[in-house]
Symmetry: C2
Subunit: 399 residues, 2 copies
């Protein structure tokens, strides 16, 4: 069967596309898009970089580059990732066309049709889509406030043979949580010797709101991973701009070699033009200043969300306050369905993404994802009010 | 079996990588890289575009865009492609991350393992790699001076059921030829009603050296394609820069819809940053001036190649003079092997890509590809001399 099959995937993507169209209407308050804020991009910094770029580097930007990435960017990134304790000297780094491409490459490298792939439940829709496209059997493991429910994982490992486990330990999309250090270690202990490939997607690593949280963001791959095969992915989308389409993967030389051949076949190399800029952005020190700025901006929004939710949501509605990232994952009262709330909210001018979108089985629908990253801050209160009202009226209907 | 399989593909890619490493050594004259000339990129034009870009457009450049592409670029490209007679009103246009991605998407959409895919022989190595990755059965149809050998194609259609035919009608890579108008029409006649998808890769469309040739470059998709399902692909790589990683595909709404879902899953969208620049480059009229410049520059190189080949090659060596594009496809005397010539040439300081690299079966090795696009023009004569000497000494050895 070709890669493309007429599946749930199809229906879902068009649902999401319709929602996103709605989300761009100026009269609609959108909590839908999981993307950086339009007004926070480092436009001036990049202008400055471009204006001071040497003619030789500019020419390089226009040309094909090595499949694994623009060599100066790889060196710059290695230094940067080393500060996070990542094993850049024993492993190899590849620049990918967004970190979604990295997940695709690993799918191509590892997944046979029918293979069992484990994800968190909820999980990133892009990851779910990739695994489905490669015809994996998917199983979602419940997320708790501090990470995966390891007892469920342990049970599955005992009785089945998963090929891969895909997780987002920092400022999870959509759940907003961060894994505790203890759980990270316990997860490695559980996987040790099982031959399950651990795929750590760390797209939100830098988006902690407080320095007290920074320590918790240390990647799982920086811990003692002996006996655990794993791949680490990251992205420039949240720390520079998704329009650059740049991500990376860090893997053992064996996994890297095959990944490089696959990448050669799918797009030859990632855009040199944006790689050259990204390299200057990090190596000239713009990144750290910029990160301070966006952490503050997203924290303000989180605080505004926090106030609004506490004030307007009925007490039966539950959530964990995010310590970084873009998302609130809101648990609805029993028997209240996320799609029904969405329909009412749309009528009153607010949109979000329903819970089942993030369930690998496409079923569980008692949550909603509120992305607060790319909306106007003054829209947070009226938006939360609209959704709260919709929930309240459905609670009455249920009673 | 996963997408990635341990195949010829593997060995080939590393061979090519080694060759490319050699090709970047300053003491080696390289006819190997099929890429635009480093010194011809429109660096100043793009600087100018960036400096005059509005703040709003700049912000857009940093953000995610629609999966099908940056809407203003799609509109600009539609106008541009309409001037080539392409059916942009009845078909739909998608921006892809290089045109190699377009071929991948179509592979994902159409190819089941074991499907028969027809290519030209020789053919573009990137296309061959994609079809192999999707486990197609490949058959190469000989190329003549004016296009495919249609009698061979007709025979195959009679006895087998090919899923797809992949061709490069303008300034072929590696063969350098251009299809005659008569052959384009005869090809459509032959395919009509057969259900074979025709994939027209037109990456070199604009690179004709003389206005008298321009008319011949009219895409097959602009002719009467009734009863033939086809997809047209193009690229910014040769008319702006490969570092932008931008290509496109033009297809029926049905093919487009599935392609869009596949693209959503593989990289979400192509780089908005480079799409925004490409749009300004074309819509502000820089493209046509730039094309005049590069056509002249590549023509000069072709003329230099022509003189050198005539002067130094033994008369048993044959070629068609290219009327556009980057390549000479040199036919060696009987019993002289391209790999043997390459080994000798490397010793004496010149590299190229061997003929078998472009054979879907990886066997036929009595040609060599000389790419003259990205070398110093003054290296052409000494480079051709080295290769000619190698050929002459092997001819002696064969006698």
């Amino acid at each position: 069967m070709p890669y493309f099959s007429q599946s749930v995937q199809h229906i879902r993507s068009s649902e999401i596309r319709d929602l996103m169209k709605l989300a761009t209407r100026p009269d609609v308050i959108s909590f839908a898009g999981g993307m950086p804020n339009n007004d926070l991009f480092p436009v001036e910094e990049v202008d400055h970089i471009m204006q001071n770029m040497s003619a030789d580097v500019k020419k390089t930007a226009f040309q094909y580059g090595p499949t694994a990435g623009y060599p100066p960017l790889i060196e710059t990134l290695k230094k940067y990732l080393k500060t996070k304790g990542l094993p850049v000297d024993t492993h190899r780094l590849m620049i990918t066309t967004g970190s979604l491409q990295a997940i695709n490459i690993l799918g191509m490298e590892f997944i046979d049709p029918g293979d069992l792939v484990l994800t968190e439940n909820p999980s990133f829709i892009g990851g779910i889509a990739v695994f489905k496209a490669f015809q994996a059997k998917l199983k979602g493991i419940p997320l708790e406030a501090d990470g995966l429910d390891l007892s469920v994982l342990q049970q599955i490992i005992k009785t089945e043979h998963p090929k891969m486990l895909y997780i987002i330990p920092n400022f999870h999309n959509p759940a907003g949580i961060i894994y505790s250090r203890q759980k990270r270690k316990a997860l490695l202990d559980l996987l040790r010797g099982t031959n399950i490939l651990l795929l750590e997607d760390d797209a939100y690593n830098e988006l902690y709101y407080d320095d007290t949280i920074k320590e918790m963001t240390q990647p799982i791959m920086s811990l003692n991973t002996e006996g655990v095969e794993m791949v680490y992915t990251g992205s420039f989308s949240k720390i520079l701009g998704p329009g650059f389409r740049l991500g990376w993967l860090l893997a053992s030389p064996e996994i890297f070699e095959k990944a490089q051949i696959i990448k050669q076949g799918i797009d030859a190399c990632s855009p040199n033009f944006t790689q050259v800029i990204a390299n200057e952005f990090v190596s000239q020190g713009y990144l750290s200043t910029y990160l301070d700025k966006i952490r503050n901006a997203y924290k303000k929004r989180r605080n505004e969300m926090d106030k609004a939710l506490k004030k307007y949501m009925p007490e039966e509605v539950l959530w964990h306050q995010p310590k970084g990232g873009f998302y609130y994952w809101i648990k609805l009262p029993q028997n209240v369905d996320s799609t029904a709330i969405l329909k009412d909210s749309i009528t009153n001018g607010a949109v979000f993404v329903t819970g089942k979108t993030f369930d690998p089985q496409g079923k569980q629908n008692n949550h909603l994802r509120l992305a607060f990253s790319n909306m106007k801050i003054e829209e947070i209160v009226p938006g939360v009010k609209i959704i709260s009202e919709a929930i309240k009226s459905h609670m009455l209907a249920v009673k």
